[in-house]
Symmetry: C2
Subunit: 346 residues, 2 copies
Amino acid sequence: MSNIREVARLAEVSVATVSRALQQPELVSVKTRNKVLAAVKQAGYQPNLLAVKFRSGKSHNLVVLVPTVANVFFARVISGMQEAAQQRRYSLLLGNTMADDNAEIAYARLVQTSQADGLIQLRAFDPFATLDMTTERLPMVNACEVLDKAPCPVVTLDNRAAAMAMTEHLLSLGHRNIAMIKGPARSPLTRDRVAGYRDALDAAGVAFDETLLCPGNFTLQSGHQATAQLLQRKQRPTAIFCENDEMAIGALQCLKQHGLKVPEDISVAGFDDISFAAFSDPPLTTIAQPAEEFGRTAVNLLIDVLEQKLTLLPKVILPFELVLRGSTGPVKMSEPATDTPAVHLT
Amino acid sequence: MSNIREVARLAEVSVATVSRALQQPELVSVKTRNKVLAAVKQAGYQPNLLAVKFRSGKSHNLVVLVPTVANVFFARVISGMQEAAQQRRYSLLLGNTMADDNAEIAYARLVQTSQADGLIQLRAFDPFATLDMTTERLPMVNACEVLDKAPCPVVTLDNRAAAMAMTEHLLSLGHRNIAMIKGPARSPLTRDRVAGYRDALDAAGVAFDETLLCPGNFTLQSGHQATAQLLQRKQRPTAIFCENDEMAIGALQCLKQHGLKVPEDISVAGFDDISFAAFSDPPLTTIAQPAEEFGRTAVNLLIDVLEQKLTLLPKVILPFELVLRGSTGPVKMSEPATDTPAVHLT
DNA sequence: AAATAAAATGATATCGGTTACATTTTAGTT
DNA sequence: AACTAAAATGTAACCGATATCATTTTATTT
């Protein structure tokens, strides 16, 4: 590959002039500039940006830690990141970490070693916290699932309010026996959504029943499995609120296999509004999150930090939307029959 | 950030010794090595890998051009790439190109400018072809949808045979009126799968009907739309073979909305075997592709090329598998009734 | 103890750009 | 024509590591 010296030789000027002709053309006479451009063309010269980055100390790369790229919601987030990064001329280094702390720490080292300028974390874990830092904190933005006391800008959604809104919706349909298929127990996301669920129950004067909370891991399979468990209860719930759409779709299948009709026999709600949610049978009632916007905002915030356009620590809260589709409906009047005398219904 | 000179100063040795103590410890005396390691620790030294990369001329980055990261199949491919790249200590630079030639060419420049060592292309387009190359070809691997005459290693699947296998399956169930929802017309993938479909029809002596081919774009929506069109035909098909699972799931929804039962009234088949395929209603008969393996293989091939472990141009063909689920079934005997006299059925 | 080989360490060029500073050329003024 | 300011260009240091080659130190042999 030809370098700047080669071009300088061809154009019969100094390397500094070549550099200037390309970077600040106004500093170079038209005649020289043309000579240089001709030489660039002749040599097929492409500046070695690795050298530029090294010299400038800026890699113009951002590391993104994604728990699972194969998750549809995160795929949308990444899509938004891509868009914003490209616009601002940064590249994304993708880290598929399977939510493994050590894998994330390994990726965080890319920032420490100047291979990336900053990091976007989509999980409530601070990979820099454990790196023995003699210097100040490295640039980071935390999005989607955020740390309670994040030492960095944050992009999130009011998960508690969203879960409350969904639960209120189910309550308004007459449901009183509402199960929830959660995510991993330690996750703040799970905690907040359970809290919102509880808020709604409390406000409606419905007793909270811990045993209605079923653990899942955000996959179709886990939604199916958890639902199967719920159906073994002597009094089965009249509605299942899943913490994401994948689990809700898993739940739908399980219910179908048990011969239950949704929403006639049981209502199902999801969270995220992935594309498949509108195409399930029945289409899924869910909470829509602006996934791409999460990505765009996170990238823009991080670059703002890097370019010093930001001093304080912003906390961006994106809006959610309750999307009503066919998977939720009024509770069946005969429902409590299993363990309630029919006389109550009169 | 502290650098190697700082460490050398602290350890009271030369920078060369520091470098050696870290890279080839066996060349340095134990005493000196310990002094250096202590200094490294004291200074919180992390080698600037941007400098290392610059010096070595190798970025250890790979560009991946993905038509749509939000596509479930590609998400799995990326997942596999990640895994392989991490193992071999490379990073992935992700380019979400929306199948736009110019966007891909822009990303290809990352390789030209030494920011990445090679490129993986998941589409039948050669972004290097248009770059005026004075030098030899830049390292590239083409996977999933491949160029007919790819000037590089290739990872693919026998799409023609796979489509033929699925069509044969449908034929064996008695279907003679089989529609196909295709991908974009220009794609070799589409061409090969249509060819395989036709192979099977020909072998069975069933006439090929061009009007049964319906264009789609691999999204849920397009599957839905195309199906709606097919249902307007005076003689509606008894089976629909979709070129990917998303479109098949879109088709399922459309059929449901029209009050048609799958597979009793009409059979539906997909391609890819994404996770949702097993959870649709009914579960989707499809062609399983080893998506993660595509990613892993592509990355390993590219790195082999980069590390000169490869001279010839390999063409890896991964296996597919026909996965039979509930969305395909025998053709209804009364089906041809719409435009065939009942007398034929006796 | 001297000679020699082997091991350890140091000085420095190098990668390919950018940029501060020095120098030369051109344009403008009297 | 002489002088000055401005514009254009050149020289060389620099970014942080690696690696070659030279030099010094240590170990081994006689």
